[in-house]
């Protein structure tokens, strides 16, 4: 089933390339819906909900000499991210029906190829397969930006590709060094199996070696996330990418970075992480505030949302490095939530752009009057993004921050961050409200600008079409459902997260004896 999830989109992509161009979008939609169906079916047969096990596994022997075995499988965290991918993809395809008018075959082909690669990243249990998929995601995105992007697309696409490529090459070197160390320890037998390498890394690497591994991984994944100060490719890529490109970029591609941090950095180099978590946390906090302030002075709506991604993902990384279950759960939720709400915002901006051909806040204004449905959705998703309780963004942000806050080190809740980290990061909440509401105030509300002309040639009515509403409604439903039932994800991933963090419990217990025991007996929270 895992293979099906990876290969079906590839097959669809192939079919689209060889079939006549006018069928491309329908075929793409059907394929992505089928994949969605398969993923939902996979979720039903999946046995690992609420348990930390790997299910749906399958492996193919490949190159014996290098220990290359193509292994796929999913634990609850990866399956959830796969579901996010398969959920977003039909929407991305449906959302591009009107926007993409040239070279449609290639476009939908690349989109499906991208889906295959992203799914592959989440399902890979083998480092080489992971890396191949991780890198291959760049190619479709490169083409999507470079061919269907806006004015400055060539520069943006090349920068996007080379920046992330450079980062991940260093990560590759880190991976290979780890694999070599494993091979040395195992009498020259190479293996790239993630679990084997993780065990090896935890048990055999010294603190010094772990720190280097951490650095190598952090460079690759940090660029992808993107962490301050290696974020500058993102605003450019987002601004130039076509709508669906931005949606997938924000929705899933950035999550590859945080997923990498979760899957590799946390389990593989725990001691180094404990040592360096404050450093990463400070970077994320700088990113949160710095990007938020930059958002404030943007005039291009899309660029604003792009920078807001930098800011938001900072919370996500912060949660991970809080090194406690709340933070990691919050971070996983953040991955999903950011995908839904920011993805939707990019859709909305795209829909507006198709009608008015501008994204300049100085030229826009009072769209609530002309496009009430659009405006409603816009405000809704902005609120989800701001973190209004009851909607999805809140839960994840809250968990990340409370986890950071409590990860203070003395007593009940061990960790290496602390209240100051959370307090400063929480300023990002205020700033987020500021820049997003200023944007809403300028674009959605206010007097309708007389100069703003709806483009008749676009073939779109003034307000949203049924197709466009169909794109947005599932996202909105997702936002609400995850806002009031985050347990859907938290409960199901709890054990997997606990397994990942188990090694930290040992470390903390060693360095702060008696820390965890305290919670058990005395506090109501610990009593259950």
């Amino acid at each position: 089933m895992s293979w099906l999830l990876i290969l079906l989109p590839l097959l669809g992509s192939f079919v689209i390339i060889v079939s006549p161009g006018r069928l491309a979008k329908q075929l793409a939609l059907v394929t992505s819906l089928v994949v969605l169906g398969v993923s939902v079916a996979a979720a039903f047969v999946f046995d690992g909900w609420g348990r930390g096990t790997w299910e749906l596994t399958s492996s193919v022997e490949w190159v014996k000499e290098w220990g290359l075995v193509l292994q796929v499988g999913a634990d609850s965290v990866s399956l959830i991210l796969v579901l996010l991918t398969t959920f977003l993809m039909p929407l991305a395809i449906l959302g591009s029906f009107n926007a993409i008018k040239s070279r449609t075959k290639e476009y939908y082909g690349w989109l499906l190829g991208l889906q295959a690669a992203m799914t592959g990243v989440f399902l890979a249990q083998d480092l080489v397969l992971f890396y191949v998929c991780f890198e291959f995601t760049l190619v479709p995105m490169f083409f999507i930006i470079a061919i269907w992007g806006s004015k400055n697309r060539a520069h943006a696409s090349v920068k996007f590709l080379i920046y992330t490529f450079t980062g991940s090459l260093i990560t590759l070197a880190g991976f290979l060094t780890l694999a070599w160390s494993y091979a040395q320890a195992n009498g020259g037998d190479w293996s790239f199996e993630i679990s084997a390498l993780t065990n090896h890394a935890v048990s055999a690497l010294s603190l010094h070696e772990q720190a280097w591994l951490l650095l190598a991984l952090l460079i690759g994944f940090g660029v992808k996330v993107p962490l301050f100060p290696v974020h500058t490719w993102l605003p450019l890529a987002h601004t130039e990418a076509p709508t669906a490109g931005s949606v997938v970029l924000a929705g899933v591609l950035l999550k590859l970075g945080t997923y990498g941090l979760y899957r590799f950095v946390l389990p593989m180099c725990p001691e180094a992480v404990v040592e360096w978590a404050p450093f990463v946390a400070i970077l994320s906090i700088i990113g949160i505030l710095y990007a938020a302030l930059i958002c404030w002075v943007q005039t291009d709506v899309k660029k604003l949302i792009a920078y807001s991604s930098v800011s938001h993902l900072g919370f996500c990384v912060l949660g991970l490095f809080a090194l406690n279950p709340m933070g990691v759960e919050g971070s996983i939720l953040y991955m999903i939530n950011h995908g839904l709400s920011t993805g939707a915002l990019f859709f909305l901006i795209g829909m507006m752009y198709e009608r008015y051909h501008t994204r300049d806040m100085g030229e826009l204004g009072g769209l609530a009057r002309t496009m009430p449905i659009w405006a409603t959705f816009m405000v809704f998703f902005v609120l989800a993004s701001v973190g209004l309780p009851g909607l999805n963004g809140f839960v994840s942000e809250f968990l990340c921050l409370i986890a950071t806050f409590t990860a203070g080190g003395s007593g009940a809740y061990p960790g290496v961050l602390g209240p100051w980290y959370a307090a400063i990061a929480a300023l990002g909440m205020v700033l987020a409200a500021m820049y997003l509401l200023i944007m809403v105030g300028k674009v959605v509300f206010g007097p309708t600008k007389a100069t703003l002309r709806h483009d008749e040639q676009s073939g779109l009515p003034v307000d949203l079409t049924v197709r466009e509403i169909t794109v947005l409604v599932p996202l909105a439903v997702g936002c609400i459902v995850l806002g009031i039932q985050p347990d859907l994800i938290i409960d199901n991933t709890a054990t997997a997260v606990a397994d990942t963090l188990a090694v930290y419990q040992d470390i903390f217990e060693e360095s702060m004896p008696g820390a965890a025991a305290f919670v058990d007996t005395s506090l109501p929270g610990g009593a259950r």
Partner: protein, 497 residues
């Protein structure tokens, strides 16, 4: 002695081919002359098939060669890539003259025709490459290297009528002669240091000297000179300066040939020579040689890649890229026998395929009857030749080493070998170089597939013969599909067998 002759069967087949083709090339009948490339191909295929049959594992065990495992992979790689190189030259060799004859504007004159000679030299050089891999003493090695390179000088000179081709040939020849003198002098010093020319005996002598801790300056200097001289074939820094000019001057099908055969000969010669000095009994290379190789590798990949960034001519760009790839190959050589040599051989094959693909696409195109010069000529290629544009993009991606294309796996093998031999810094530098190379390879992806056509590229059309284009497409397909049978490729290029 009988064994040795038996070993020569693939080369003998090629020499037989030389005779047949030389005669066939002078035949007046256009149709028969049209058979020249196919006959050449036939002999290459025959040689290629004979390679695994002759160089079996059992036969090699008793061969008394220094690196017995090299012959089979080298032969197969050479024949496979050579077949591609041959096919991409169809329609290119003697292009104008043959066209004039076909159109009745000229009559066939054996003195003016060079088609037969091109194929003769092609086969000779290939034979030289195969001979390098089974060299057992320094004389053989010297002769084989000369056999591999002397024909290429001629090929460059007569590749096209342009004065630039002759300039290229001049530079190539003179610098080649200088480098030959250099490694010859190095050989002399090696002989002086050991008193023998037989490679296995040299190794024994060196091992003895090292064991006694008195490896002389003579050996080091000799090895240094030999390696630097042979570095010319690899286009390794500092012997790389000719590459860009010669590649640009020669006709595209010859450039493609230059990009592979001498380089392969150089790589194999490196492996053999270095095996005499290092890696005996689990030791590594002597420190000076290791350092020298390390420096050369870093400089080669770095200078090659950065030079490519500035190029406007496609062929110069690919020349620089081929310099850079020599640098990557040196990682495998530094890593030593086993994983390192395997990786280098695998990479040689993969690089050969990728390089041949891009040259095949170039070879299939022309503008006003002349081959493409500027990179800009490729702009908007997809409008008229979508498949060629795609093939170009795939080959560039593969040369860049982007997963999941074949090039990635080659680089992965090299990186693994490099890291496993403890050369992490070298691997990191190679990784950064890969990133740098992305700049210019992306131009080869972006221009054909994304850019709009400009005035120059509007006039680009495909040449009459369909074969170069077909080779490009087939090889591009292989670059995409072959990773599936990566295990087989790995087995094929396994030196330690």
């Amino acid at each position: 002695m009988i064994d040795k002759l038996w070993f020569l069967i693939p080369e003998l087949i090629l020499f037989a081919g030389v005779v047949v083709v030389a005669i066939l090339g002078l035949v007046h009948s256009n149709r028969l002359r049209g058979w020249v490339p196919w006959t050449t191909g036939l002999f290459i295929v025959a040689a290629g098939i004979s390679v695994p049959l002759v160089y079996t594992a059992e036969a090699m065990e008793t061969s008394g060669l220094l690196v017995p495992g090299l012959a089979a992979p080298a032969g197969m790689i050479a024949c496979i890539v050579a077949l591609g190189l041959l096919l991409l030259s169809i329609g290119r060799v003697d292009q104008r003259y043959e066209l004039a004859i076909a159109q009745g504007r000229a009559v066939f004159d054996p003195i003016r025709a060079t088609g037969g000679e091109f194929h003769v030299f092609f086969l000779l050089s290939l034979a030289g490459l195969l001979l390098v891999s089974i060299a057992n003493d320094l004389i053989w090695l010297f002769l084989a290297l000369e056999l591999a390179s002397l024909p290429t000088y001629v090929m460059v000179a007569m590749s096209r009528g342009s004065i630039r081709a002759q300039e290229a040939a001049m530079k190539y020849f003179f610098l080649g002669a200088m480098s030959a003198a250099m490694f010859l002098y190095g050989f002399a010093l090696l002989y002086g240091a050991t008193g023998t020319l037989v490679l296995t005996e040299i190794q024994a002598s060196f091992a003895d000297q090292i064991a006694r801790g008195e490896l002389g300056i003579l050996a080091i200097v000799g090895m240094l000179l030999a390696l630097l001289g042979i570095g010319f074939k690899l286009a390794a820094v500092p012997m790389h300066l000719y590459a860009a000019d010669v590649y640009e001057g020669a006709s595209v099908h010859v450039t493609a040939f230059l990009g592979f055969v001498p380089k392969a000969a150089g790589v194999i010669a490196f492996m053999i020579l270095l095996s005499t000095l290092g890696w005996a009994d689990g030791a590594g290379l002597p420190a000076p040689i290791l350092i020298m190789l390390w420096v050369v590798s870093v400089l080669t990949m770095t200078l090659g890649n950065i030079a490519a960034l500035l190029q406007k001519s496609v062929k110069r760009m690919l020349a620089c890229s081929s310099i850079a790839h020599s640098g990557y190959l040196l990682i495998g050589i530094i890593a030593g026998p086993g994983a390192g040599f395997n990786a280098a051989m695998l990479y040689l094959l993969i690089y050969g395929l990728g390089n041949t693909t891009s040259f095949a696409v170039l070879s299939s195109l022309q503008r006003g009857g002349v081959e493409l010069e500027s990179v800009e000529d490729l702009a908007g290629l997809r409008h008229k030749h979508p498949w060629s544009a795609t093939a170009m993009a795939i080959s560039a991606g593969s040369l860049l080493g982007f997963p999941p294309l074949l090039g990635f796996w080659g680089k992965l093998a090299l990186f693994i070998a490099g890291i496993a031999s403890g050369r992490l810094v070298l691997v990191l530098i190679a990784a950064i170089n890969s990133a740098i190379s992305a700049w210019y390879y992306l131009r080869l992806v972006g221009l054909p597939l994304m850019a709009d056509r400009n005035e120059r590229s509007e006039a680009v059309e495909s040449i009459h013969a369909p074969w170069p284009r077909l080779v490009g497409l087939v090889l591009a397909g292989m670059l995409v599909v072959l990773p599936v049978i990566l295990g087989l490729l790995y087995w094929m290029t396994d030196v330690s067998r």
